[in-house]
């Protein structure tokens, strides 16, 4: 199996910085912004985006950040091993807010479908946006990301590994199992 690094730590930082700027641009500031990461690695990425936004616009009201676990809303619960849920922390009310969901990899879109259902049980945001570090294609649902760190066209037999410092101790994005002739 070959493993090829496609994003280094510096690349990831640059991508998150750009995504943060794009979020601020599309939202016209940090007003009413709630960044929610999807466990596990999306939470770390959401924290970082919130930090960068605070750095870019220190004058604006503190951007709210939290986590949204989607385990209980998955459509494949009956078909796999029992999954262990992760904590959900939604900071305050999301009614009327701009919610940005953050995940590491966008693949089938099913996680995001579950996240939208979960979000609906917490309140009614004005808009919901999606930010992902890697979009690897192969969507099974009509879902797309608004902010993308890197588009990585992949074959479905390939694996994308995302490591972030907070969870794994090191940081990179790699593709595994390519070049299968």
């Amino acid at each position: 199996m070959t493993e090829r690094t496609v994003l280094t730590q510096a690349d990831i930082t640059r991508a998150l910085t750009r995504i943060s700027h794009e979020i601020l641009e599309s939202n016209r500031g940090a007003e009413n912004l709630v960044i929610l990461g999807i466990p596990t690695r999306g939470v770390a990425l959401a924290q970082r985006i919130a930090e960068i936004i605070r750095r870019i616009e220190p004058a604006s009201a503190a951007v709210r950040v939290g986590s949204l676990d989607v385990t209980m809303y998955r459509d494949d619960l009956a078909h796999t091993r029992t999954r262990t849920p992760a904590p959900t922390q939604v900071p305050g009310s999301i009614d009327g807010a701009t919610v940005v969901l953050v995940d590491d990899v966008l693949y089938s879109g099913r996680t995001i479908r579950a996240a939208l259902d979960a979000l609906g049980d917490h309140g009614r945001p004005r808009v919901v946006r999606l930010a992902v570090l890697v979009d690897r294609g192969h969507r099974e649902l009509p879902i797309r990301a608004d902010f993308v760190g890197k588009n990585l066209p992949t074959a479905s037999h390939e694996r994308i590994n995302v490591h972030v410092t907070e969870v794994d101790g090191d940081e990179f994005v790699s593709i595994e199992g390519g070049a299968e002739e």
């Binding site: 209980m72 849920p85 904590p87 917490h122």
Partner: protein, 316 residues
């Protein structure tokens, strides 16, 4: 997890995972929509051969919060009172497509029989069997203790070094047994205090200290004092002269409550006999967790139902 029959068979990791999931379930109660779609399309049967309102409605609330359909079956006025066997009842429920069965039965071991029989392929939760076990009660007690001690930092923790004194009818109490095994697994130290007539003949296999003097136990300043209900329905012999004498020697009255160390919490699985095993002052105080236990019961049972009924049951 295929079934939840006892706490004795739970490993530490399994127990902590269940308590952690219960933390997530507790958060659901604070949301705008207090319901999860997780067990949509699953059917949970509450099969109660013994009267119990609290446990049954707690399981019912838990199953409904997870969007499962609930069927309540109580032995009174049912086919059981016409002489139907457990086997036929189980096969009837299987034919109706039950995915989970919550069973309470006066005979110790009835849930094990149901789980191992092949009569029904549902996940079985023991909701109290005879004088054997009542695992979800012990889990909710452990959950309550953990939350009181660690608050929001509870996730992933056991109860290492916590001292728990359980007072009352140890002989008949399935709550005491389930708590003993679970608390021991989680690292707590258990002391039983009871009249000598209400202690089993041989307790040498139990990881617990047995005592008869409540005053000495109170003065030892345990982290938790758990008062058990005197179960009038099981008092089929002269275990103690009368209830006043029991209350005087083994009841948590106002005087003993006042002497209790200020960090100790007071627990009771309910329903309480006020004035017998616990005084109103103790039951209604800040240090009492009686109502928390009821709320936590729903969260813990949601976690148990989730672990048993989600996931591919073929793979187990």
């Amino acid at each position: 997890m295929r079934h939840l029959l006892s706490t004795k068979s739970l490993t530490r990791d399994e127990a902590i995972t269940l308590l952690d999931i219960a933390e997530d379930m507790a958060d659901v109660a604070n949301r705008e929509v207090k319901k999860l779609p997780t067990l949509r399309g699953k059917t949970v049967v509450n099969l109660f051969f013994e009267d119990s309102t609290r446990t049954r409605i707690s399981f019912e609330a838990a199953a409904k919060r997870l969007s499962a359909d609930v069927i309540n079956f109580s032995a009174k006025g049912s086919s059981v009172s016409k002489g139907e066997s457990l086997k036929d009842t189980a096969q009837t429920l299987a034919a109706m497509g039950a995915d989970g069965v919550v069973i309470r039965h006066p005979a110790s071991g009835a849930p094990q029989v149901l789980a191992g029989s092949g009569w029904i392929d549902a996940g079985i939760i023991n909701a109290g069997d005879g004088t054997h076990e009542h695992p979800t009660q012990a889990l909710l007690d452990a959950f309550t203790i953990r939350r009181r001690l660690h608050g929001t930092a509870s996730r992933g923790r056991g109860l290492d070094g916590v001292t728990v004194t359980i007072v009352g009818d140890i002989l008949h109490s399935r709550v005491a047994r389930s708590n003993l095994w679970l608390l021991d697994t989680l690292g707590a130290q258990v002391t039983f205090i009871a009249p000598p007539t209400l202690v089993p003949a041989d307790t040498s296999a139990w990881p617990a200290t047995i005592g008869y003097d409540l005053d000495a136990a109170i003065d030892a300043g345990p982290d938790v004092v758990m008062m058990l209900r005197i179960q009038a329905e099981r008092m089929n012999a002269a275990f103690f002269p009368n209830s006043r004498e029991y209350s005087r020697r083994w009841g948590l009255d106002d005087e003993r409550f006042a002497r209790l160390s200020s960090h100790s919490i007071v627990m009771h699985p309910g329903p309480m006999n006020r004035g017998l095993e616990i005084s109103s002052a103790a039951a209604d105080s800040e240090r009492s967790t009686v109502r928390e236990q009821v709320a936590n019961g729903v969260s813990v049972r949601m976690a148990a139902l989730y672990l048993l009924l989600s996931g591919d049951r073929e793979e187990h």
